[in-house]
């Protein structure tokens, strides 16, 4: 490795996503911008060892990339009469103030995020494209993290890019009127990514868990680009979940319920950061469902033990959440919280009512929650019966192991 290639590697690591975002704006096409950036870094490897590093490497790379892309288009144009050429005035733009301006760099990144997460793309395509273009993961890495073939993933990304081109999905931050809805689509991608990594057990490949870190990084980036209460809420929620990563499974990869987790294993720093974000989000008064879920997680994280949990506060937060996004699963969680505050008999009454809802009729978690309340009430027979019913309703290995363990403890 020559003396200069290390700085180039460092610049690639820290600047490549920003350079790509700006090139996408200048060239109007993601694929063209990717090739242009590759060309620019190759050019840097040739030139910088001879001529030394430019004063502003980022501006140099963007300007060179743009020049290379126009060159590429010119060569293609020789074979096709109808290719459109971008106007090529001011080919050397190293001194262009826009390339030195931090705000326009920030805007370019934000534009790229909103383009990759456009609701006109499928959820799968949004996730893959965001990881590829915004996070800079390779197609092989993404495929491996999602346990899919590289060919499938590569095709998904190619199709998404061609839809962006053909359908005219713009490279822009949505107008104020559309922003809440579009931001929702972005937050959805980030949370999906986080959960994909969070549900991975410790035995599974590390890349999968890396998805959670990537989601947190994205959340932080988005918040730095666009101050907003729900982004704070989502980031807080992810940090609070993440704080319990090492406590929520035992050495065999079996789930450990919140109340039985060793709280000394919870990451205090992440909790502190998460709680601070939740408080800011709630104070703003413009929060949504992510902030409320984060607030519930925060109450759990701040309790010294399961019995110290402020259940009244949690019930209140569930009520607010239900107002905002009615859902039978949230009602179920609320019923469990009420059981924790008022005792298992009250909880069971609510669960019996909830069972009438079609969405919950065959839901394993409802049967499991009932079983748990019977167990607490000392009704061993009914507890066993409902654990058995729950076992018949889930296909997930980790959930099955958990239920079998409970049944063994009671028998």
């Amino acid at each position: 490795m020559t003396a200069i290639s290390q700085p180039i590697n460092d610049i690639y690591r820290t600047e490549s996503r920003r350079i790509l975002a700006t090139l996408v704006r200048l060239l109007g096409d993601i694929e063209l911008a990717e090739d242009a950036m590759q060309d620019a870094f190759n050019e840097a490897l040739n030139h910088w060892p001879v001529k030394g590093m430019p004063d502003n490497p980022r501006a140099w790379l963007i300007s060179t990339g743009r020049f290379k892309a126009i060159d590429r288009l010119r060569r293609q144009a020789k074979f096709s009469t109808y290719a459109e050429l971008p106007d090529d005035h001011q080919i050397d733009m190293q001194d262009d103030p826009a390339l030195q301006d931090e705000q326009s760099i920030v805007d370019d990144q934000l534009r790229l995020i909103f383009t990759c997460c456009h609701p006109a793309l499928s959820a799968e395509a949004r996730v893959a494209l965001t990881l590829r273009e915004v996070c800079g993961m390779s197609t092989e890495q993404i495929a491996s993290a999602f346990l899919q073939s590289t060919t499938t993933l590569a095709q998904r990304i190619v199709r998404a890019k061609s839809k962006i081109r053909q359908a005219g999905i713009p490279y822009e931050v949505p107008e104020q009127e559309d922003l809440p809805e579009r931001l929702d689509a972005v937050l959805q991608v980030i949370y999906l990514l986080f959960n994909e990594g969070y549900s991975a057990s410790s035995g599974e490949n590390l890349l999968r868990q890396e998805l959670s870190n990537e989601a947190i990084r994205l959340g932080k980036l988005l918040l730095s680009l666009l101050p907003n209460a729900e982004i704070q809420g989502l980031l807080g929620l992810m940090l609070l979940h993440e704080s319990r990563r090492h406590a929520r499974m035992d050495d065999d990869g079996d789930m450990i319920l919140l109340e039985e987790q060793n709280r000394a294993l919870w990451d205090k720093q992440l909790i502190e950061h998460g709680v601070a974000l939740v408080e800011q989000a709630l104070k703003s008064g413009e929060f949504g469902a992510y902030s409320l879920q984060a607030a519930i997680a925060a109450v759990h994280c701040e309790a010294e033990s399961a019995s110290d949990t402020d259940w009244a506060q949690i019930i209140l937060l569930y009520d607010k959440l239900l107002e905002l996004t009615p859902s039978p699963v949230i009602e179920l969680n609320r019923a469990v919280a009420i059981a924790m505050r008022d005792g298992p008999t009250d909880g069971l009454k609510l669960l019996h009512q909830l069972q009438q809802q079609p969405a919950l009729k065959n839901y394993y978690w409802l049967q499991s929650a009932k079983a748990d309340l019977y167990r607490r009430a000392g009704d061993k027979q009914n507890a066993l019966k409902h654990y058995q019913q729950a076992l018949g309703l889930t296909e997930q290995a980790a959930e099955q192991r958990f239920l079998k363990k409970r049944i063994a403890q009671l028998s």
Binding site: H118, Q166, G168, P170, E177
Partner: protein, 132 residues
């Protein structure tokens, strides 16, 4: 960019409306269409007669076949098409999301028009050279 917006509706949206409500709805649709025409966004479009007026022409076994229909299996049917000029997909979505028929339960499928100019030109060259 040119977009073709396919408007789908269901009869049930109108069943429970009084005559006055139906008129109000039509008025709001026409007013919005006029607005889109005036600001240069709507560059064409037609409403369609009901599906029971449709005729299908195809060739089967070398013979021309003309039939009644097709009748969609869904209750939702294509009620009209609009040719829309918009800066990009975001603008197209914004314009169509304000269309009164959306509020009534209707849906729009927004598809970009395909630019066949290059293909047409190549074809023209092929045809003129084979004529010589």
């Amino acid at each position: 960019m040119k977009y073709i917006c396919l408007g789908y509706i269901e009869d049930k949206y109108f069943e429970d409306l009084t005559e006055k409500q139906q008129q109000d709805f039509m008025d709001s649709c026409f007013a919005y269409d006029e607005e889109l025409q005036k600001n240069g966004h709507m560059i064409g479009g037609e409403a369609l007669q009901p599906t029971n007026t449709a005729t299908t022409v195809r060739q089967r076994g070398g013979k021309l076949q003309i039939t009644d229909g097709p009748f969609a299996e869904t209750k939702e049917y294509l009620g009209g098409i609009m040719l829309l000029e918009a800066r990009d997909l975001n603008e197209a979505i914004q314009l169509m999301s304000h269309h009164p028929s959306i509020g009534m339960g209707g849906t729009f499928e927004i598809r970009p028009a395909a630019d066949l100019d290059a293909m047409f030109e190549q074809s023209r060259l092929r045809r003129s050279s084979s004529n010589n």
